[in-house]
Each structure stands twice: as C-alpha cells, then as structure tokens.
C-alpha cells in the first residue's frame, strides 16, 4: 500500500528531472507524477507489492560519497556529485524513493530488460487474442507493442492448462493466459478477506487454482477480473458478449447502498453490457461489490414500465399529467419520496410538497453492512433528501403514519416517486382507498393499483447527483436512453409543479437548487468534480444514521 501523503518530502531525480514526492512512495508512483509510464503487471496501487513480474525494471543510482570521509565525490567533467549507478536494473514497484536517488526509466538497459521479460511472459501465452475478452484492455497486448519482438523464438510446444475453470458463480478462469502476477491472490487475501486463491505446482506448471472444496464466491470476486492484467480471469456474465472497444464509458454511482461507489457503465447503442468500478481514493479505492454490477439488468428488465396509464387504460403524457394535476389540486395529498431519487428530483418534489402544503415521507431500506463497500443503508441518497429539506428526520421502513391517515380519511391522494407502497407496509385495501399517482420505472403492486402511472427513467438513463454516507455529493451521467414511452423524472415533476418549476433539466435546475439549499450554495452541477465534493454535515450530526464503519467511512460516534 502507498503510505498516506506526509509533509516530509523526498527529492529524487527521474530521467534528469528533480521531483519531490512523499516519503515512502515507490518509483512507479513517483515516475507517474512526471507522466513517465513504468510498465507493470503484478504491482497494483491498492495491494501489497509482490515484485514477481519483473516488468517494472528501472536503472537506479545514488550520489557517490567517499567511504572513509563521507564527503561527496564530485565529477570533474560536470562539476556535480558523481552518481554510482547500480550495474543491473532494479524493480520500480519494490523500490522506495530515497533522498538524491537517480532513476532512468527509458535507458537502453531498461528497454533490454523489459524486452527480455516480455519474451519470457509470451513463451507460453496462447494466441487467443481474437477470442479473448481482455483484448483491447490487456496490459500484455499493450506492452507487447512496445517491448515485444513481433515473432517468437520459442519452437517448443506451448504449455497446456485448463481453459475454462469455473472458479465461482461469477468468475471463469483460463489458466493458459495467466502470467502468475498474483494480483487476484493478494486481493482475495487483503481486501476481500477470503483467502481462497493460490498457485500450485512449480515452474511452467504453476497454475492458479482455488483451495480444494472452496469457491471464489465472495461478493467482491469480480474485482479479481478487473485487476487481472491479462484475460485469465473473466466475468462469466460478460464473457464473449461484446468486444470492449465498441463500448462507450459513462460515469455513474452504484445505487445499491449509501456507500456511493464510483462506477463506469459500458454501453453500446443503448444497451448496457457491464458495470465496473471507477477509482476514487476517497470512496471506494478501485473496488466495487459484485451485487452492484448486476444492477444494470434492471434497465432492460421485462417488468419495466413503458406505457402512460390513466384509470387502467393506456393514455398520453399530457392527459396523464392533467389528470395528476387535478388529483393534486383536490387536496388531502400525501407525498412519498425516494432515497433512490437524485438530489435534483428530491428538490423538485420538495417544491411540490411546499406548493401543496404537505410533508413528504421517505421509505428506509436497511440491511447488513459488509464493512467494505455495501453500507447498512440500502438507499443511495437518503442524505440528499436531508440536504434538500425533503425530509428532516431519518425515514422508517414502514409508512405507519400514512397508513393511519388513509384509514382515518385524512389522505385521499398519494403521490409516490418510485416507492412501492405495498412493500412499505400499506395493505391492498388501503391502496384501493386512495387515488395513487405513481412515478416509477418498474411494475409493482403500487403501479397496478395506481390511478395515474407515469413511467420514468432508471438512474443509468438520466443525469443527477447523490449524496453518500460521507455527505459527499457525487454526480452521475446518462448512459443510455430510456424506453419509449418513459419520461425524465425531472420533466414530469416540473410539469406537476406548473409555472413555479425552476427548470426541468439538471443544469438548468442547479442555480435555483444552489440558491435554495444552504449546503449546496456556491455549487453548480458542472463544477462538481468526478470524485465528488464533501458537504458540511454539521446540521445533521445529531441524527442516528444506520451505517456502520466501512472502507472509507467512520460513523460520527466512532470517529
């Protein structure tokens, strides 16, 4: 692991340029700060250093001192202190910087060493590139263009190893492609705390395998696929589905919990093929849970709502919006917001609640946190509702107050933004007693009972922001268009608000949002960096949040 930046800096000279880096930095990271690429396979910034691939060879030297007097030895030709170069290359990942250290990252000796390493790595590597899922994002392919020789001197038969081993429910292993870098082994041991992978046999017989009787089935197993520098570990879900060079990358946020894991959606022509983590050292490092990656399947699920429905019959958006506006005008309204909606949607819903003079409620979703990247709060944006003022207290899982109000006849119309009221404790009789306006993505008991159904967009189909457990506001972008017949939540909410709506798109909404919400003042959507911005959380410090400690989060009480 890289040590946290400390004030004490060390000055090193890399390819003739002096740079001050924090003490404890290794040569690969120091060179990265100068945009010098040191190729590597086994080194990963978030794992321990193994130093077994030997690809990150650099030339290294220290300023010369007289052994007896400790006085610097000067070079008469240049007038500077002489450098004693080590006669053989050293590995960059396992070398920590020292004051005055000199590094060469592209000398002839370094190039020679890397070419030798590449030739050995390719000796037994199969010619699988046309069928390999890693092609296009393969480190071996990339470095082969720089350091490969273009033909093979290996005339012996290549190694034969198992080609499709199921390591677990989500990971398939091709042992022939493995270059034995041990990243997956170290990840399982250090991050996932599930030490099931290891190497058996020796020399060119070495094979990555699972502990007998065990499986790589922890909820973080797909991270081994991400960090595999070659195509040895592949995702069973994504296997042979699409070549990566066709896929468009869109930044998003994991919607499964309030951890707010940064992710990337990979899509082509409106179809999502996979989700992978995006590095954010403040939130999720480079990891993501498997369960969050499969959520893209919600987008094309068969129970997606795509038809506007009024009184049980298909209708048009305008008719439905008028019908909904009439229902809202008649009074006795209750609003159920969502911890899955974006900050912008919650802000418009808050405006609507204020216009109607009612309070909104939220539905809590909780589960066991895994102390890593799934928190106990399974709503990604409950804190957004607090920040925008949609609610002022933490939500409960059951809408007991709403149920009582329906029974007493106090509430005659319920506007639900994506929440299934039946799942939140309302009975079928209670649902039948009120007129429901449902804005949502998937069919459920509430959409079936609703008087007006307005199909809206999934998180991956729209832009917005979430506030995660650290009170970090993070933005996500639209990756694919929504199904025909659906509308953006913001458009629907703005239409329901009528002329009072500030805007119906994310960018247009932000000036009003910043003006109305103190915690977001001075911010604009376009100014939020991809790594997010921490908000001042002091106004909510006293609330009993459900999250326990996780990878980058400590609850206020424990901190």
């Amino acid at each position: 692991m890289i040590a946290a930046p400390k004030p004490d800096l060390v000055t090193v000279n890399i390819d003739g340029v002096d740079i001050a880096v924090p003490k404890g930095t290794n040569v690969i990271e120091a060179a990265k700060q100068l945009q010098k690429d040191v190729p590597h396979y086994c080194y990963h910034p978030k794992l321990t250093v193994a130093g077994n691939c030997r690809m990150c060879m650099v030339e290294m030297g220290m300023p010369a001192v007289d052994p007896a007097t400790k006085a610097p030895v000067m070079d008469a030709a240049t007038g500077k202190q002489k450098i004693n170069w080590i006669p053989r290359p050293q590995i960059g990942c396992g070398t920590t910087v020292a004051p005055g250290m000199h590094i060469k990252t592209s000398s002839p000796m370094v190039k020679d060493a890397r070419e030798g390493v590449m030739e050995f790595l390719l000796v037994n590597h199969p010619l699988d590139c046309p069928i390999c899922d890693q092609a296009g994002e393969c480190k071996l392919q990339e470095q082969a263009t720089g350091y490969g020789r273009g033909y093979s001197r290996f005339i012996e038969e290549k190694n034969v190893k198992p080609k499709r081993t199921q390591l677990g429910p989500r990971v398939t292993l091709d042992d022939e492609r493995c270059i034995l870098c041990s990243r997956c082994v170290r990840f399982s041991k250090e991050i996932a705390q599930d030490d099931v992978l290891g190497f058996v046999d020796r020399g060119s017989y070495s094979t990555l395998t699972c502990h007998p009787g065990k499986k790589l089935e922890n909820n973080y197993s797909l991270n081994t696929v991400d960090i595999c520098p070659v195509g040895a570990l592949t995702s069973t879900d994504f296997r042979f589905k699409m070549r990566v060079w066709f896929l468009k990358q869109t930044n998003t946020i994991d919607i499964e919990s309030s951890a707010g894991v940064n992710a990337v959606i990979w899509s082509r022509e409106g179809v999502i093929y996979r989700l992978t983590p995006r590095r954010n050292d403040e939130v999720n490092d480079t990891w993501m849970a498997d369960s969050g990656r499969l959520l893209y399947k919600q987008v094309a699920a068969p129970d997606r709502l795509a038809a506007v429905i009024v009184n049980g019959a298909a209708s048009s958006l305008d008719i439905a919006l008028n019908a909904a506006a009439e229902l809202l005008k008649s009074g006795s309204v209750a609003i159920v917001g969502s911890g899955r909606a974006s900050v912008e949607e919650q802000f418009l819903l808050k405006n609507l609640a204020d216009q109607l003079g009612v309070n909104a409620s939220l539905v809590a979703r909780t589960g066991q946190g895994d102390k890593l990247l799934i928190s106990s709060d399974r709503n990604p944006n409950v804190r957004g509702a607090l920040v925008t003022g949609l609610v002022s207290a933490l939500p409960a899982a059951q809408l007991a107050q709403l149920a009582a109000d329906i029974d007493s006849g106090k509430v005659k119309t319920v506007l639900s933004h994506g929440e299934d009221l039946a799942a939140a404790g309302l009975t079928a009789a209670q649902l039948a007693k009120v007129a429901i306006i449902y804005l949502g993505t998937h069919a459920n008991a509430t959409s079936a009972a609703a008087k007006v159904v307005l199909p809206t967009l999934h998180t991956f189909e729209k832009a917005g922001t979430f506030v995660n457990q650290q009170f970090r506001i993070q933005k996500f972008a639209a990756a694919v268009p929504g199904p025909q017949g659906s509308s953006n939540d913001l458009v629907v909410l703005a239409k329901l608000l009528g002329p009072a709506a500030p805007a119906s798109d994310v960018h247009g909404l932000w000036p009003a949002l910043a003006a109305a919400v103190p915690a977001l003042a001075t911010m604009l959507y376009k100014n939020i960096p991809e790594t997010g911005l921490l908000l001042d959380s002091t106004p909510w410090a006293g609330l009993p949040f459900v999250e326990g400690e996780s990878l980058k989060y400590k609850p206020a009480a424990a901190a």
């Binding site: 199969p126 010619l127 590139c129 046309p130 069928i131 092609a135 038969e157 290549k158 190694n159 034969v160 080609k163 499709r164 060119s204 017989y205 296997r239 042979f240 589905k241 699409m242 070549r243 060079w245 066709f246």
Partner: protein, 182 residues
Amino acid sequence: MAVVTVERKPLSFLERTYLPNIAAGLATTFKRMVQPVETLEYPEQRPAIPAGYRGVPTLVYDPNGREKCVSCQLCEFVCPPKAIRITPGEIAHDDANAHVEKRPEEFKIDMLRCIYCGLCQEVCPEEAIWLQNQYSMTGYTREEMVNDKKRLYELGGTLPDSHFKWDKKAAAEKAAHAGGHH
C-alpha cells in the same frame, strides 16, 4: 457586339445524293460483321473473374468443415460503412470445436451498405472472411439484401488453409491429456 454574317457554302452534287456517306457507314457495318464479337450475352454469358477480384464478402469453412470465424469483431470495427453486424456466442462444451470457444451466433452483412473495399478480409486474424467472385447481388426488398450467417457460408464454401492453428491446439491438448508433453 458586332455581328458577323457567315455565308453557308452550297452542297456539291455528290453530297446532295448522300451516297458516299451511306457507303462509308455500310463499310463500317460490314467490317464489324466479320470481326470477332467483343460483348457478352449477359446474363447467359458471364465474364471471367480475374484473380484478386473483390466481390461479395463471404464466410468460409476450413477443409475440415470448421467455421473459421471466431467472432472477434475486428471486421465489424474496421468496416467503413458499418455494414457488418456480429452477435458473438460461445461454442457449447460438448461441441467438436469446443476448444475454439467462440463463434458468431449471428453474422450479418448489409449489402446495401457494403462498398467492397476488402478491409474486412485484410483485418481478419483467422482468414475467415473473403471477398470472392460473386459480384451480382439483387433482391426485391431491403431485408433480402442483408446476408445472414447461413447465406454467407453458402456463398463462401470451403477454402484451403495453410495454418490449421486450432487443430494444432486441439492436438496439443489431447497429447497433454494423454500424459505426453507436459
């Protein structure tokens, strides 16, 4: 602008009879009648196709009947008019070609888009797609002009192979299982 009046020359007697020109025209006609024919009675007669001709792109089998395409989608990527569409798929574990692992589930070439540039053939790492002699594609509907996988293999047939890369791979696997090489 000045106008210049040009006097038309009167025709001579012979010119007025038209006979010399008719004779000259007929001479050409009779000369052509005895010369060898240079046109073809298309479509009954077909031209000879020169080597290296770039006709309709097709998919081919290797001499052992294995479909050569492994659906790497490089042709789909390189195709300038985006005429190629491939749906990749996995070869079942019990298939005779299971060691190849991957093949196209569907392979479509839209011949209304194809410009016969031959980049797909050039880029193919498996030598599976070839622009062969077929040059005439006709159809009544747009759908008919899209060649699917079945049609592409009908058009392509079998071509000779000099590598047998996958057969060698299968042989090495077999030898390894028999306890031979490693």
